[in-house]
Symmetry: C2
Subunit: 133 residues, 2 copies
DNA sequence: ATCAGGCGTGAGAATCATTCTCATGAACTC
DNA sequence: GAGTTCATGAGAATGATTCTCACGCCTGAT
């Protein structure tokens, strides 16, 4: 279970550290290749999955179903406000929402509650460039 | 733009009306075939997409990325508490959450806000059958 | 009812992200 | 340093969804 420290895994982690926004596995693979780091696509997927299992990265699904990954500042539970165009991300938390969610679920006799709360929008920069065009 | 009323489209709508829970396009296709209704898979997808565009059905993504569809009682905006095992669904709404979401997003300068708020859990029935086993 | 034109249909191919396979290569242990 | 084990990578496989295109069934006008 000890995660081996390989060149590839290191490269993935570094790339994630430098990128502040949510990125897909495919995008990360592109980034690594462009950077000269030769890493197989399957390896990128494996590394990301391992990191996600270890709660080292957050995963969420884009509107088209693609998985997006991000190295978040805080490891505690939180949510995101993400720009659907550029992936720009703001971490947010909603204590009120957490409480609300578990109360509602429990009232219906549900167990093992998990909630998905994500906000999507267009960030100021993307709105500006869209206007220019 | 007038949606034609065909045998296939009718069959899809009827199946959705009878099924109270979220189902995937594949599952619906199976159901229809089992029922003797011959409907192509592509047609099921098209019908569901059309219904979703018309806000006649709600769509959400399962944890594995598959799209699930459901004919909801109310057409107004609302959320769901879904059993991840059997698809059993309870409609819920959270006025508090709505307000919270738009306030947070606006504070960060984001536009065109959209939010994803879904609750997943194990319903009482599924918990019981899991215990038996 | 009837007809014509257009939208809907279906089977299979195409697409796309993700996972699997398996032979080879690189880490960690002693 | 040697051996064992796990990670890697290229390509095949998978699975949901979409596309293609020839053909048939709605629908509105006659």
């Amino acid at each position: 279970m000890a995660a081996r420290m390989t060149r590839q895994r290191t490269a993935v982690v570094e790339a994630l550290d430098e990128l502040a926004d949510f990125r897909s596995a495919q995008q990360l693979h592109e980034t690594l290749r462009a950077r000269g780091e030769s890493v197989g696509l399957a390896t990128v997927y494996r590394a990301l999955q391992a990191l996600a299992d270890a709660s080292e990265v957050d995963v969420l699904r884009a509107e088209d179903g693609e998985s997006l990954y991000r190295r978040c500042a805080r490891r505690e539970h939180h949510h995101h406000l993400v720009c659907r165009h550029c992936g720009r991300t703001v971490e947010i938390d909603g204590p009120t929402v957490e409480a609300w969610a578990s109360k509602v679920a429990a009232a219906q006799g549900f167990d093992d509650i998990e909630h998905t709360i994500e906000l999507w929008g267009t960030c100021a920069d993307c709105r500006a460039s869209a206007a220019t065009k």
